[in-house]
C-alpha cells in the first residue's frame, strides 16, 4: 500500500523530504508561518508521521508565497516550497475542502483561464474569482466597493484589457493536457 509519505516523495521536488533534520530554518524564514495552521517544519514532521487528512485539509500550503526563502536556506536541500505545491496539488486532486482561505478559488479561476485561452486573461480571472467568493463579498460590502478604484486605476493605465488573447494552438494545448492525463493514469 502507498503511504502518504510515498505519495509526497513521488511528487516533483518531494523526493528529499527524508533528509529533513527538523532544524526549523524553514519556519524561521517563512514570511507567512504565523498565518499557517501548521508551519513548514511541522508540516514536514506530520507528513513523515503519515497524518494525511490533517495535512491535506489544513490551510498551511495555501499560504505559501513561493518566495523560496526556505528552499534557499534549507541546509539539507529539502525544497519545502515544492513540497507545498505538491501538497496543494494532492489536496486539490483528492477533493479536500479548505476553510479560511480563498486562494484555492483564485488559483482555479487562473488555471481555467489558461485552459480556455492558452493565456491568462487577468480581467477574466478577477471576474471569475470574485463571483466564486460572492457570498463573502456581499458580507463585506464596504471592503468590496473599495476594491473598485484599484481595478479602475489599472484599467485607466491600459493594464487591464477587457478582451482576452487566445492562442491559435489552444486546441493543441487541450489535447496535450488530455493525453498527459491518460498517460499518467495508465502508468
Amino acid at each position: 500500500m502507498t503511504t502518504f509519505l510515498d505519495e509526497v516523495k513521488a511528487t516533483p521536488g518531494g523526493e528529499h523530504i527524508l533528509a529533513c533534520i527538523q532544524c526549523g530554518t524553514c519556519t524561521g524564514s517563512c514570511p507567512m508561518a504565523s498565518q499557517m495552521e501548521y508551519p513548514p517544519r511541522k508540516i514536514i514532521a506530520m507528513i513523515r508521521a503519515g497524518k494525511r487528512d490533517e495535512v491535506l485539509s489544513s490551510n498551511s500550503m495555501w499560504f505559501c508565497l513561493s518566495c523560496y526563502m526556505c528552499t534557499a536556506r534549507c541546509p539539507r536541500g529539502v525544497k519545502p516550497t515544492e513540497i507545498a505545491h505538491a501538497l496543494e496539488s494532492l489536496a486539490n486532486q483528492q477533493g479536500f475542502r479548505i476553510g479560511g482561505t480563498s486562494t484555492p478559488s483564485f488559483y482555479r479561476s487562473f488555471v481555467s483561464s489558461i485552459r480556455s485561452n492558452g493565456r491568462v486573461h487577468e480581467f477574466g480571472v478577477m471576474v471569475k474569482f470574485y463571483l466564486s467568493i460572492l457570498p463573502e463579498l456581499i458580507l463585506h460590502p464596504v471592503a468590496t466597493i473599495r476594491m473598485a478604484p484599484l481595478g479602475l486605476r489599472l484599467f485607466n493605465h491600459k493594464r487591464l484589457p477587457l478582451k482576452a488573447t487566445k492562442i491559435k494552438g489552444r486546441q493543441d494545448l487541450s489535447r496535450i493536457i488530455q493525453r498527459f492525463r491518460e498517460v499518467r493514469s495508465s502508468s
Binding site: P12, G13, L65, S89, T103, F106, E122, L160, D172, R179
Partner: protein, 304 residues
C-alpha cells in the same frame, strides 16, 4: 547581434504592459534580437503548479518544445515565468520517466522536447551577455545623482539557479549603477512583496508590501526598480491601498529596470510605457530631463 527566443509572459500585454514595451524598446539599442516564440502559451505560473504540479510541467513544456526548434536560449523578462519554465526544464532534464510521459503528450500536437534549451531571465542576459560595461557605453543620458532602490523580489534570485546570491544579490545594483544612478542601501531588496496572494489574502500580505516600500523610502530613494511584473503591480497599484490601510504617505514611483535603462539610453518615455505606471514617475522624469538641460547648458562644469 545576439539572438534569443523571447517569452514575454501574459502580463506583458496587461498588468505588466510597461515591462513588455520597455523590454522590446531597449533590445535594438543593446544589440540583441528578441525573436518572440510563436504562439506561446501561459507558463502556468504558481497557480497551475499548485493545483496540479505534474500537469503544469506539460503546459510549460509546450513552450520549451517550441523554443527548441530555434535552438536559441529562451529569455523571459518575467520572474514568475522564469522560475516556472526553468523549474519545469530542470524537472524534465532530471526525470527521464516524466520526460517520456510529457513527450507522449506533446506528440499529439506534433511536438517533441529533447531537453536542450536554456531558460534565462532577461536580467541574466543584460548582466552576463550584454554586460553593464557595454550598457554604460551606450548611455546617452547619464542618471548621475538619481537615487534608486533596486528591488529583486524572490523569483529572480531564488530558489537557486546560480544567477546571483539568494539573499544579498548585486546584479540589479550593478545595472542601475552602470547608468550613472546610485543604488541605495536597501535591506529588503530580496524579500517577498506578497506575490499573487495580494489578490486572495490581501489583509494578510499587505504588510509585506508595506515593509518593502518603507525600506526603500527610508534610504531616500527617488524610485524603486524591479524586473518583476507582479512585484511592480503590488508596489505600484497597491501603494494607495497601503497608504489607506497603514495611514502612510508613500509616493514612490516603481519602474521596471528596463524602463530605467531605456531612459538612460535616451528613448522616449512613451515608448517605454511610462504612461502605464500608476504612481506617477513625473518627478523622476523631471530630474532626468532637468539634468540633461543642465549638462547641455553648462558643458564646462560637467567636464570638471
Amino acid at each position: 547581434m545576439r539572438y534569443y527566443s523571447y517569452f514575454p509572459g501574459c502580463s506583458a500585454e496587461s498588468t505588466g504592459l510597461g515591462l513588455g514595451l520597455s523590454t522590446e524598446a531597449i533590445a535594438a539599442p543593446l544589440d540583441i534580437e528578441l525573436v518572440e516564440l510563436e504562439d506561446w502559451n501561459c507558463c502556468g505560473s504558481t497557480p497551475y503548479g499548485s493545483l496540479d504540479d505534474e500537469e503544469s510541467i506539460v503546459v510549460a513544456a509546450r513552450n520549451l518544445a517550441l523554443a527548441e526548434k530555434s535552438g536559441f536560449d529562451l529569455v523571459t523578462p518575467c520572474s514568475s515565468c522564469y522560475v516556472t519554465l526553468a523549474g519545469a526544464n530542470r524537472h524534465l532534464q532530471e526525470r527521464p520517466k516524466l520526460m517520456t510521459q510529457v513527450n507522449e503528450a506533446l506528440a499529439v500536437a506534433g511536438l517533441e522536447y529533447k531537453g536542450s534549451i536554456r531558460v534565462r531571465h532577461l536580467v541574466d542576459v543584460l548582466y552576463n551577455d550584454v554586460t553593464p560595461e557595454f550598457i554604460a557605453g551606450e548611455v546617452k543620458n547619464r542618471l548621475d545623482g538619481l537615487k534608486v532602490a533596486p528591488y529583486y523580489g524572490c523569483q529572480l534570485v531564488r530558489p537557486r539557479y546560480g544567477l546571483d546570491d539568494t539573499e544579498h544579490p548585486h546584479t540589479l545594483d550593478d545595472l542601475v549603477e552602470c547608468l550613472g544612478a546610485e543604488a541605495v542601501n536597501f535591506p529588503m531588496k530580496a524579500r517577498c512583496c506578497g506575490g499573487s496572494l495580494t489578490i486572495s489574502e490581501e489583509k494578510n500580505v499587505l504588510e509585506l508590501t508595506r515593509k518593502i516600500l518603507q525600506s526603500a523610502a527610508q534610504n531616500g530613494s527617488q524610485c524603486i526598480v524591479t524586473p518583476c511584473p507582479l512585484c511592480q503591480t503590488n508596489l505600484d497599484a497597491y501603494q494607495s491601498r497601503i497608504n489607506a490601510r497603514f495611514r502612510a504617505d508613500f509616493k514612490i514611483p516603481v519602474l521596471f529596470i528596463t524602463q530605467l535603462i531605456g531612459l538612460a539610453l535616451g528613448l522616449e518615455a512613451k515608448s517605454l510605457g511610462l504612461d502605464t505606471n500608476i504612481v506617477s514617475p513625473r518627478e523622476v522624469l523631471d530630474y532626468i530631463y532637468n539634468r540633461i538641460n543642465y549638462v547641455t547648458t553648462h558643458p564646462t562644469e560637467e567636464r570638471e
